[in-house]
Amino acid sequence: MFCINRRKDRELFFDKKNECLTKKEKHKLQSELLVDLVKRVYDSVPAYRAKMDAINIKPSDIKSIDDIVKLPFTTKQDLRDNYPFGMFSTDKKDIIRVHASSGTTGKLTVVGYTKYDIEVWAECCARSLVAAGADANSLLHVAYGYGLFTGGLGLHYGGERLGLTVVPVSAGNTPRQIQLIIDFKADGICCTPSYAIYLADEIIKAGYTAKDLNLKWGLFGAEPWSEEMRNEIEDKLGLKAYDIYGLSEIAGPGVASECEFQKGAHIWDDHFYPEIVDVDTLEPLPIGERGELVFTTLTKQGMPLIRYRTRDITALDDSPCPCKRTGYRIKRIKGRSDDMLIIRGVNVFPSQIESALIGSDDKISSHYHITVDRVKNLDVMEIAIELKQDAKFDEVKDIEALVSKLETVIGSAIGVSAQVKLVSYASIKRSEGKAQRVTDKRK
């Protein structure tokens, strides 16, 4: 047992007032924000208006946050139906940035941010960083990818908002990452947990130990991880590992993040209102019960989402936290209510692979099977693709050319590399009912 020396208040919180609202204050704030939000989207987003009209709900029916249960859910399919910008609720001139993540088929899920949205997001990331131990003197090594993916830029802006020093390394080039972490004496790091373990192993291979590093804390997210992984990361990198939760549809990383007590990610619920619903009935569940996590973006301007189904299966924890933050905590994500896979931080839907394969070559059938595994702490995906009955090969080079072509087709469709394995006709097991297309050995 060791005693945590608590830092001074001004170092413990980025925004103590809003991170520690009382129940009453929170109810009032969330109610005001929701009433305003519903009016805004009803007036400006035809898709929302149509959904509300269909169940006969008017903005005037929403008087407090308790009325949220009257509102319809929003899903990834809604975003797809309104691709690319149909869910935006402000003038295009007010949108200053877009990010995007994988959709269920070929098209991306697009999110638009106003200047205010970027500021709010940066603030939430700044809160997350401070909760993990960062302050203005810290040096933050951002090893999340920069680009359409929200990880890199999200933490980058959060770090700058806090006023620390950001090193925008982005993903890849591990030897250079190691050199910079050591030479710059990084205090903190953020990346996916699986990359953290890979990086730690590479650091050890390069002949260093945790003592050669100055790392004190790390924020890890964009994929589900476990307490075992936390222990391994902490041991190997000599830091405290915190879970940061987010998804691009809601903002990006920093929707919720852990405090020094590491008991689940506190939701910044003055901006993102959480609910847990039953996966089958979609009825709201009491706090503590496990179901699908649903978020409403109370303050978002560019693309507000009402009761957005995250598909993440988890439970909320409202027990008081010694850190005094009052945002409910998200327990470990226990799975998905859809078939989305997270491969090296990238969201992948089997349907994306399927639509990429269709018509790509007349030697292959529509039968495939995805196997995901973790090899040396990195996710690997193998896709077995069955040949058509009349597909013929006379030379090995023809097989290799087809494999390489399919790997390119899939890689560019899903944004992450996969190994293709061709298999003979009729060798993939047929299932009665719903096809079992995925074997995930990581679980």
């Binding site: 040949l387 597909a391 013929k392 090969f393 006379d394 090995v396 298999v423 006709y425």
Partner: protein
């Protein structure tokens, strides 16, 4: 004047060649010559059977990707330098060989060589005009 073979796609996993031979055995088809080209993950099994048409049909029904192809086959004397002689002729004519397999010992004097080329007709004509003894459909093995 051409020799017909079957080509079968194989994933490199244990037991697959045994499965192949069982399918043919059960159909009472005799394998007369065989060769396998493989990489770490895949292989192509090439074989000449006593009934290639039925072999392809049977293999397909049993979950194999099989097809038939025509090759050029010829006899050479079973002694040093004979293969080189033929290959030199082909090289001079700029004919590229996709793959080749051969078997000796079928009879005492001759070896049989099978080659895959892009243009069978042209290749056959060149070989014949150089006095090479081409094989017919029926292998003397």
């Amino acid at each position: 004047m051409l020799v017909n073979q079957i080509a079968v796609f194989l994933e490199n996993r244990s037991g697959r060649i045994a499965e192949f031979s069982k399918v043919l055995a059960d159909a009472n088809i005799n394998i007369r010559a065989m060769s396998i080209a493989d990489t770490e993950e895949y292989g192509i099994l090439r074989a000449i059977t006593d009934d290639n048409v039925r072999a392809v049909e049977t293999l397909k029904i049993n979950g194999f990707n099989a097809s038939a192809t025509d090759l050029i086959g010829f006899n050479v004397a079973d002694k040093p330098g004979e293969m080189f002689k033929v290959l030199s002729i082909l090289e001079k004519a700029k004919i590229n060989i996709g793959y080749l397999y051969s078997f000796a010992g079928a009879n005492k004097e001759n070896a049989i060589i099978l080659i895959k080329v892009d243009d069978n007709e042209k290749t056959a004509a060149i070989l014949e005009s150089n006095g090479i003894n081409l094989m017919g459909r029926d292998l003397p093995i």
